[in-house]
Symmetry: C2
Subunit: 404 residues, 2 copies
């Protein structure tokens, strides 16, 4: 009789955002007259920029004619997109990353989830706490996280690095030495950042202890301050210790378009084996490339028109972030984030637990957010709101919250 | 120091089609004057049908307006597409499959590769030999295939079921009982099929021994004979033992568009645990849905216009299959396939080995095919040609081969 992967049964409950979705659907059904404002999941609301729409139409037309039709894409992405990424996201920022170190994919979530496959089973992972659930959950599925300890709400095999207001959301080097360190900056969910000097310390640490940093930079487009690095490759020595994940979801509104990429420098090795060759093998064997028309849309992100239009789009969301940040302050909340990231991280009032605050906000103001405890035990007592709503809804949500 | 997944090092050489790509590129560069005809990789050449192009443009326009913009898709696919699939591919054929048993994805290759993750590490897999390399390679990566035995060109932990002209390409039940059985019909690479009665025997066998059948039906659109099942769910009892993979790549030319789906019936269980819930968890955690515009393109496949146009497209490729089949026969080759599948499987002449024949054909007639041994040890002495070229090129390739 066949057996299942028992590791799946160690996952407590369902994926965070599925649970929220179900709770919200149930409330909606019970109260069809209420107008909900969703500032929970990090989904965007603004339409695709005109330069991207134009590129999509053009590519669709190409697919309709035999002379310009495109079948299977190159495993690792079209050269036109990989070159545009290498130049704009890396070389123009002084990062030494070549086009053939970039692997185009259908999104950073998939890559963040799949990357652990190329690592050994007994590697020890370290994550910030709170953290985007995908890092831990995918390691649980792979049997690398140990067992769930209900009373601690932690996995026995994972090194948690608490990030709270007490340490200004900057993790300390863990006591136990990790093999794989997940870092996400600008951070989801806390909206916090590391300075270049702080990130350099992590790169130095990783090189010293022989760890690999899995750096999720999905939110780099929201950085407004000078001293905050957009890529880990701005730090010296990152080529020998870091993999970077990037997404088009948040900088270009591609959540429903699906495009991202992963950078694996050729200098990153375990003995003789380059991780670049392992990831190439995984991509070639288990993936079949991002759609041609979507890769053309990605290319349009880097045109002068695309850049100008997307700068406005990011500014639109960051205006929302300001509305939320200031609105919550006015309402008496303790607030973080929202300056270099589209997330605002607030302390729940009067020691209310995160899910209780979720229900309270949903029921009293019809605003949907994300409970901090869904991101890890140190997220308990916090709550995340996102700046990805419309401006009108964001303003209204703040009016409602101020009235509570 | 971090460690890598050592299982990757057990994979011999690179992914088959990457190797072919490199060989062909090298030949092309050395002989820029030669006109190559590629009948190797199963990539299509006909442009997308007008009904699909129309749907894509419409969906792109929707993405450009705030009122009709779509962000994250539902984890498991849009209801409009899942319903169209359930009705057209299953219910209309008398198969008891519901829309919520269908998981939309970016292609059958990914799903075929990822499905093994939800199974236990010590399950024993059985594959036809020759076989699409993804089934074995992904199990090697997961450490489920044992070690590579170079002299046998086999993995020690895999049950190989030879399919050759001697048994008319119909595998026998293996001596050792497998837990997971990969079947692909119409078959890649041999182009062979099972009758409904033959497939029913496999379903009965799987239910008896407690195995799960992983049924790859990517080529069902090419079935021309009455007695050949389009889906494993045409067989009684398949709901308790089978998962089915489908692709839009070959029936609708989506190789560069990326869309597929997997069916996991809710009756398929291991003890109390439904595989449906495990796959849903995997999808929700590691995948973020197929692009909205691509799912709309998939929906167009099931419209009356889409159906009519795609019927013609399939007929176009099957005309090519006839040209290859008859051309090879005329040239004195022993040939199989090509009737219910876009693949023609030929015996190499005079006991030439598969890669030698690959080089011979490339150098003498500038035709690219796929060496049978790339699909497994029992593929040695065979060679695959595909019907996915243009009609003109296919005719020319046969003229060249006949002249050899």
């Amino acid at each position: 009789m066949f057996k299942i992967n028992e590791n799946y049964l160690k996952l407590p409950g369902s994926y965070l955002f599925s649970t929220i979705g179900k709770k919200v659907a149930a409330y909606s059904e019970a109260h069809p007259d209420k107008k909900l404002i969703r500032l929970g999941i990090g989904d965007v609301t603004q339409p695709l920029a005109p330069a991207i729409i134009k590129a999509l139409h053009k590519a669709v037309d190409e697919m309709g004619a035999a002379e310009t039709f495109h079948g299977y894409a190159p495993d690792l992405g079209y050269e036109f997109l990989r070159s545009a990424i290498a130049k704009n996201d890396y070389q123009d920022r002084g990062c030494d990353i070549a086009a053939d170190e970039i692997f185009v994919s259908d999104g950073a979530k998939c890559d963040c989830g799949n990357i652990q496959e190329i690592f050994g089973q007994d590697n020890r992972i370290a994550v910030c706490d709170p953290v985007y659930p995908v890092y831990v959950d995918t390691n649980v599925m792979a049997g690398r996280a140990g067992d769930w300890i209900p009373e601690k709400e932690m996995f026995s095999g994972v090194i948690y690095m608490p990030c709270t207001m007490d340490n200004d959301f900057v993790p300390e080097f863990p006591k136990e030495t990790p093999d794989m360190i997940y870092l996400c900056y600008p951070n989801n969910p806390t909206g916090s950042t590391l300075t270049k000097a702080q990130l350099q310390e992590w790169v130095d640490y990783a090189n010293k202890v022989g760890a690999v940093i899995l750096f999720d930079a999905a939110y780099e487009a929201y950085i407004s301050e000078e001293d905050v690095p957009h890529s880990i490759y701005e730090c010296e020595g990152a080529r020998t210790c870091a993999i970077e994940f990037r997404s088009f979801s948040k900088n270009a509104g591609f959540t429903g378009v699906r495009l991202g990429f992963t950078v694996v420098p050729k200098d990153l090795k375990c003995g003789d084996v380059s991780l670049h060759s392992l990831w190439a093998r995984r991509h070639g064997t288990k993936y079949n490339g991002a759609p041609y028309i979507i890769q053309r849309a990605g290319e349009a992100v880097y045109t002068p028109e695309g850049k100008a239009e997307l700068k406005e789009q990011v500014a639109y969301y960051m205006k929302n972030a300001g509305v939320i940040y200031n609105g919550l302050k006015e309402a008496g909340y303790t607030v973080a984030g929202g300056v270099n990231a589209p997330y605002i991280w607030l302390k729940t009032p009067e020691g209310m637990d995160s899910w209780k605050f979720f229900d309270y906000l949903l029921e009293t103001s019809n605003v949907v957010g994300t409970p901090g405890s869904g991101f890890g035990p140190s997220g308990e007592g916090y709550f995340r709101l996102t700046a990805f709503g419309t401006y009108e809804n964001t303003v209204e949500a703040m009016e409602r919250i101020k009235k509570l």
